[in-house]
Subunit: 417 residues, 2 copies
């Protein structure tokens, strides 16, 4: 029998009506002859409410206790969904992360899944149960509850799908799939039918909030097919899978933007070996992801070192680097959080060198100044001021004609320079 | 080093201000040189809010999922209290029921604790941590979360105190201790300084909500001293312990009343062997506690069988007995939930046969009709109409002069008949 893993995010289970609708959908998958495992996030605003509660007590709660608290959010959702499914006449059992055998590393608040012992889930599936698993959470080797960080339920779902050798991992969300740009800010944005793991990873990492990057990595590593679709309708969404060049629809898949960015500048560091190592090793130890990095020589002996982190990490990153300033012999440290990153993602750009130029042209013609540029094989990102982000997305989306209807199987995005 | 177990109920942790006050009290005990284990209930109305949430989905959720849901209430409290204690500069760690090694039988919603594996708690205490444990919950041998029923956190606290060989188990509540009657309905009620396990058990079982009866049984079995006291002030409360006759203050300790009672009457059952067995075995299987039982012969061949259960169990008890009616050959079944049980409790009544008569006289003089009488060695209970409960408590309390100031070490309650 096929195993299907379905994941429902917070907006899909935000109240009892939505939970009943999800139950209906889950039962349909079961009635179609599948064994069904459902992964759920905390209800809508539950996480924020819990955070407000703990912040009344301390502005800076310890990570272990934060995980203890936040993990209750999914535990509430799984019990409610199990009962909703039982009300529809199916048998269902809810499992917390630790009951589902989700083992993580010891780190709190952004732990990675180390392994999944799926024995209990398999037992319940064999008994004919629909199994509801709390996403976002696991247990470390000390027996403490850990959480996987923002969007962690996606990773829970994909990891469970892999462990259970599921046929597919369905990620239900409040949009119809992955779009060529954020449809909330650009109505011309078009749904992408099929996208490769590599492109999805770049899009997820550069601001498309629809999937956690780690979930895409996991799926790519094990070849698990993901279907990103809406929990509000039955339309087909976006399939994330290995895509051959022949299947590819466009050279450029989409434009993303990310407002959750802060730019830190270490001012006038002596230009000598070991500076970058010192800073980024300290940040890595604190598990702070550094994204764009630019080092620009100001004079012969000093340089400005500029890098970006997510806004969530900005305060901690500032503290860490501030402590290093005397040791580095730098002049100062500056933080700017009114920046945005806009990116173009597309596997086709490897063989089309004009992509970068077209993007820069679109930004230039809109009067948008580029502060930092970074690239990967299939992505080009520009850091700009936050208030111009929407204009930038529109200009780039239009320049690459991503709003155009697609008919042929493959074609260049546009007349590349 | 002495181990002290402190238990705080829902009203003591109902908001962040109260949680901070509890943290302060816990730290004081730690600073006095004790190893401290704290057991907490869910915050104030949390349990009711969670119940409202699940009842939006189903009027009759399955017990396993109900436990999965309700156990989040204490998990929230423990994390908040741990953070509040950490903010005061002490180290603390929160543990769920399963992390604290609380093993229960498989039954959901009113499981009994089978054993406690206190290894993790001891490890944390040895590291100098204040340990915060979620009350009311445990884990069964399947690895599922169970809860202990109404007031279960008291039992968690006493069981942990026994497992850890604590010096004392302090139960913090919103009243100053155990009273000769409920001080909310009788202002003359007097705080009892010392009470025996036996009397406390009778009082708890007959309506004094201050302690779960099972907790008292546990304490009596292992000789664990309980101190029931207020979380709002530092006054000494009531010590529950083995009491010698010499220490006893009064022959009668208190008057209790219980409005959480429903009276079921099986009408005109044939008067033959096996009837009571059939009914009460069926109820026992469903874990419904039957309290008072009266069988009164109506005619030579038929009898009315009358018994009381808690209101929470009334609907289920009615269903169970209704199904037995044809088999029993009874005429019908009737339920009356506008009844109350008033009781007099006192170890001294064993040797003072006038206690019952004085109680009946007090009720009679207040024009209160007695529907059912039941007695134990140290308790006499009368079932009356609910609306007369307060008058009954006042009359009995006054008849036994429980409001009188006590000076001498021992004396009869009053001039017994």
């Amino acid at each position: 029998m096929n195993i299907v893993v379905q994941k429902f995010g917070g907006s899909s289970v935000k109240n009892s009506e939505r939970i009943k609708a999800v139950a209906q959908r889950v039962c349909t998958a079961k009635e179609a002859g599948n064994q069904v495992v459902v992964v759920v996030s905390a209800m809508g605003d539950m996480t924020d409410e819990l955070l407000a509660l703990i912040h009344e007590i301390s502005p800076d709660p310890t990570p272990r206790e934060l995980d203890m608290l936040l993990s209750t959010g999914e535990q509430i959702s799984i019990s409610l969904l199990a009962v909703a499914i039982q009300s529809l006449g199916h048998t269902a059992v809810s499992l917390t992360g630790w009951q589902a055998g989700v083992k993580t590393e010891n780190l709190h608040c952004k732990a990675k899944i180390k392994s999944i012992d799926a024995q209990r889930i398999k037992q319940e599936l064999d008994k004919g149960q629909i199994v509801i698993v709390a996403g976002f959470q696991g247990i470390n080797e000390l027996g403490d509850i850990t959480t996987l960080g923002r969007g962690g339920s996606d990773t829970s779902a994909v990891a469970l799908a892999v462990a259970l050798q599921a046929k597919i991992c369905e990620i239900y969300t409040d949009v119809d799939g992955v779009y060529t740009a954020d449809p909330r800010i650009l109505s011309e944005a078009r749904k992408i039918n099929v996208i490769s793991y590599g492109e999805m990873l770049e899009m997820a990492s550069s601001g498309a909030g629809v999937l956690q990057p780690r979930a895409v990595e996991f799926a790519a590593e094990y070849g698990m097919k993901i279907h990103v679709r809406s929990s509000f309708n039955d339309k087909p969404g976006t399939i994330v899978k290995e895509v051959s060049d022949l299947e590819r629809e466009m050279y450029v898949s989409g434009v993303t933007h990310d407002l959750n960015v802060a730019k830190l500048t270490v001012i006038e560091v002596p230009d000598k070996p070991g500076i970058a190592f010192t800073i980024f090793e300290a940040l890595a130890k604190a598990r702070i992801n550094v994204d764009m990095i630019v080092q620009s020589t100001k004079a012969e002996t000093v340089t400005d070192l500029l890098f970006t982190v997510s806004k969530d990490d900005a305060t901690q990153a500032m503290q860490i680097v501030q402590n290093l300033i005397p040791q580095l012999g730098a002049k100062g440290l500056h933080c700017d959080d009114s920046v945005a990153k806009v990116s173009v993602v597309g596997a086709g750009m490897v063989t089309n060198p004009g992509v970068a130029a077209l993007m820069f042209k679109a930004l230039c013609e809109s009067g948008i100044n580029i502060q930092v540029i970074s690239t990967s094989e299939i992505r080009i990102s520009c850091l700009i001021t936050a208030e111009q982000a929407q204009d930038a997305v529109r200009a780039i989306h239009s320049a690459f004609k991503l709003d155009a209807d697609i008919s042929g199987p493959i074609r260049p995005a546009v007349d590349l320079l």
